[in-house]
């Protein structure tokens, strides 16, 4: 099953709606609650990053079968200059507005790594960022 959701940049009121819908889908499929939680947390962090850091928004694409879920969160820039650095706990370029919303601790990417079975972050400053989270659905 494939699903596609739009992510609007800068719109913190809507941030999380895509992740919330994926969470509901996993619940309907009776996936183990621990796996649902870690998957939701990982994709929510990725979704919030598009709202917080990307210009022009992005998309969340979910591909679910009985064994695994693959979620791709893509945007069109500005991209991440140094991915290794961005993966470090505490590294953040968040704006004051993002910080006032309760984000910008530089914990999102490390948190995504912790909560995904496989994590791929592809980014460059001329294109955009693509985060691919794969989680296995059988406990």
């Amino acid at each position: 099953m494939k699903f596609e959701f739009d992510i609007v940049d800068g719109d913190f009121a809507k941030a999380g709606t895509a992740s919330s819908q994926v969470k509901h889908l996993l619940k309907q499929l009776n996936v183990d609650t621990k796996i649902i939680k870690k998957t939701t947390v990982a994709i929510y962090e990725a979704e919030v990053n598009v709202v917080a850091h990307a210009i022009g928004g992005g998309k969340l694409l979910a591909d679910i079968n009985l064994e695994r879920i693959v979620v791709e969160v893509v945007d069109e820039g500005p991209g991440i200059e140094d991915i290794a650095r961005a993966m470090e706990v505490g590294f953040s370029t968040a704006s004051p507005q993002v910080i006032s919303m309760g984000f910008g601790a530089g914990m999102g990417l490390p948190n995504m790594r912790k909560n995904s079975d496989e994590l791929e972050v592809i980014s460059d400053v001329s294109g955009g960022t693509r985060v691919v989270i794969t989680n296995y659905l059988v406990a």
Partner: protein, 114 residues
């Protein structure tokens, strides 16, 4: 500790999820950073925060937090209420600071996660 008991101890009031206030939580956590809340792996958590935004509720939904105490007398917005009602997050408004709410609940036996 029962949510009803917690509400009384804090002198607060339940703004969402009254019908579920008979449930108990075992752990308390205080945070104003949403990513901190998203690192928690335990179940049965109550979060105390001064961050009164829609994203606070969204984060509680994602992290499966049972109950959120909005401290420092901040008022929950209609959009926050609506989201909390839809996602089943119990919301409490309390006038005291995050520090005081944490102190009261810790002293009354609500456990820290770590």
């Amino acid at each position: 500790m029962k949510i009803t008991e917690i509400t009384t101890l804090l002198g607060g009031h339940i703004v969402c999820g009254k019908a579920r206030a008979y449930i108990s939580v075992q752990y308390g956590f205080a945070a104003d950073l949403l990513s901190d809340i998203l690192t928690l792996e335990t179940e049965g958590i109550l979060v105390i925060t001064g961050l009164c935004t829609l994203q606070t509720i969204r984060t509680a939904e994602m992290a499966e937090i049972d109950c959120v105490v909005i401290a420092r007398g901040k008022k929950v917005s209609p959009a926050m209420k609506d989201l909390a009602d839809r996602t089943g997050v119990i919301l409490i408004e309390a006038d005291c600071s995050v520090f005081k709410a944490s102190g009261i609940l810790y002293a009354s036996g609500l456990q820290p996660i770590y």
